[in-house]
């Protein structure tokens, strides 16, 4: 194996096919960029899931005086009922991780805090807000266990799961994520087709060299290696551009725009970018290598 000779062949090949090489680099960059972005969005969604599902609670609202649900027919919740509910909740450990009782006074405080700047506060009195148990579950998906145990029980007006709201939200996000991934995969397929075509053109434009190589007994490996390296090199350049774009996205869009404006949620960190970058590089080089390998097997046989 003569490394300098192979290197000069690769250089010649890339230069001779400069426009095609540029086309490959750009397509690889765009498709891998999309692919990386969709992976980043995926990481973002999972970060948000972790963040939010960690915060969701099941709220068990207790009956107040004027509640009109059937289970509140007996009037406001009694102290005995309240104690019973609390001890029943305790018996559900370890599924139930934390139990927190919120009195009417505390509910009112929280309400005032939440709607600090709104005139609505003046119209709401402490009496109008229900007392409640706030329950945090070890596994939020096990909500039904709690709901079935407490829903409709005397003294309980309503059992509320915040997860249901989040589920809707994440379903929509999941859909968007899937669309992004599908577009990325489509682009990757386009990239593979372009590389296949580029290799075909390259093999054709160098058929003189390759036919002489075959004639003098060069091995298949030696004949194909410059083409393979060219494809891999173009793909690697494209992948590096795409990774750069992804880092830029993270800096400008996530850290620069989103994070300061939406402080209530968590955003992906650099660890996610670091994990995605090698995936992009390997995907790019791998796809290009495979596309080139199978094309060359067909067009450059001994």
């Amino acid at each position: 194996m003569r490394a300098t000779f192979v290197a000069s062949e690769v250089g010649n090949g890339l230069r001779r096919n400069l426009t095609m090489t540029l086309a490959v680099i750009i397509t690889v960059a765009v498709s891998l960029g999309l692919f990386g972005a969709s992976l980043l969005v995926r990481a973002q969604v999972s970060t948000m899931k972790d963040f939010w599902y960690d915060k969701v609670e099941v709220s068990i609202f207790l009956c107040s005086k004027g509640s009109d649900t059937p289970s509140c027919a007996g009037g406001a919740v009694t102290a005995a009922q309240r104690d019973q509910i609390k001890s029943d909740l305790e018996s559900l450990r370890p599924l139930v991780q934390e139990i927190y009782y919120e009195s009417k006074a505390e509910a009112y405080e929280r309400f005032k805090e939440q709607f600090r700047d709104s005139p609505i506060v003046d119209n709401v009195t402490e009496k109008a807000l229900p007392e409640s148990f706030r329950v945090k579950l070890a596994d939020p998906t096990q909500y039904d266990v709690v709901a079935s145990a407490f829903e409709g029980r005397p003294g309980i007006e309503q059992v509320n799961d915040q997860r249901k709201v989040l589920d809707k939200f994440f379903q929509i996000l999941g859909g968007l994520q899937l669309i992004a991934l599908l577009i990325a995969i489509l682009m990757l397929i386009v990239t593979v087709l372009l590389i296949v075509n580029t290799m075909r053109v390259a093999a054709f434009s160098r058929r003189r060299e390759t036919s002489i190589m075959r004639l003098v007994g060069a091995s298949n490996f030696y004949i194909q290696l410059p083409f393979l390296l060219e494809a891999a090199l173009a793909a690697a350049l494209g992948a590096i551009l795409a990774i750069g774009a992804l880092a830029l996205m993270k800096t400008v869009i996530v850290d620069g725009l989103l994070a300061p404006s939406f402080q209530f949620t968590a955003f992906v960190g650099w660890d996610a970018v670091l994990a995605i970058a090698p995936v992009m590089l390997i995907t790019g080089i791998g796809l290009a290598g495979l596309a080139a390998f199978f094309t060359l097997r067909k067009y450059l046989r001994v």
Partner: protein, 229 residues
């Protein structure tokens, strides 16, 4: 060295066989002319020796190997022992004389030091000393064919195959090429050459195999072209 054992070759999409039940043997060190009209199967025979084509029936043995049973990855090894020269020279136009010859060694992974030593040697054998730095378009047809012969011979192959090497050259130039092939033969390489040129065959007085419509119609040592008619 080369053995054809009841070889028939029918190209796909063709009815008539290009070679029809051909059997013959070529010994080490021989100089063999392959003559016959256009389309008689000369190039097909040479391509079978190079394993560029496979026989439809029968066996081709080259350098002790049954080519039907030679696996694909061993084909390069076979071809390294066979030099090839064609009517159209097949040189790389953007490489110099020396680079064209060196290319054949580079692509089979020979070290630079070896290449630097043998390329000037072989260029001297073919009579191209002083023209190492020229490009093919700065050479005459005869000189271009000499470059091709140098490239075919630089590895000191056991067999040299020449498919109408003088087909594009004038008679005077052809004589020079024949002298060169004769010299290479005397250095120990078996030479198989197809040609149309009766003058050359008559002058050289070597073994002649004549093909017609895929059949061997004559095989005689020290032949004269067209004797059979």
């Amino acid at each position: 060295m080369i053995l054809f054992d009841h070889v028939t070759k029918v190209y796909p999409s063709q009815q008539r066989p290009a070679l029809d039940d051909v059997s013959l043997e070529i010994e080490k060190g021989e100089f063999v002319f392959l003559v016959g009209p256009s389309g008689s199967g000369k190039s097909t025979m040479l391509r079978l020796v190079l394993r560029e084509e496979r026989p439809t029936k029968g066996q081709v043995w080259v350098l002790g190997k049954d080519l039907n049973r030679l696996s694909n990855w061993k084909i390069p090894t076979l071809r390294r022992q066979i030099g090839t020269v064609f009517q159209d020279f097949r040189l790389l136009p953007n490489k110099t004389v020396a680079e064209n010859v060196a290319f054949a060694l580079e692509v089979i992974g020979k070290p630079k030091s070896h290449i630097n030593k043998v390329v000037p040697e072989v260029l001297e054998v073919v009579g191209l000393e002083g023209k190492e730095g020229r490009r093919p378009d700065e050479l005459s047809g005869g000189e271009q064919q000499r470059v091709a012969i140098a490239r075919a011979f630089v590895n000191r192959p056991m067999i040299l195959i020449a498919d109408e090497p003088t087909g594009n050259l004038d008679p005077a130039t052809s004589v020079g090429i024949m002298k060169l092939l004769d010299r290479i033969n005397r250095l120990g390489t078996t030479v198989v050459m197809s040609t149309h040129d009766s003058q050359i065959v008559d002058q050289m007085r070597r073994r002649v195999i004549e093909l017609e419509g895929g059949h061997v119609v004559r095989d005689q040592s020290r032949g004269v072209y067209g004797y059979a008619q």
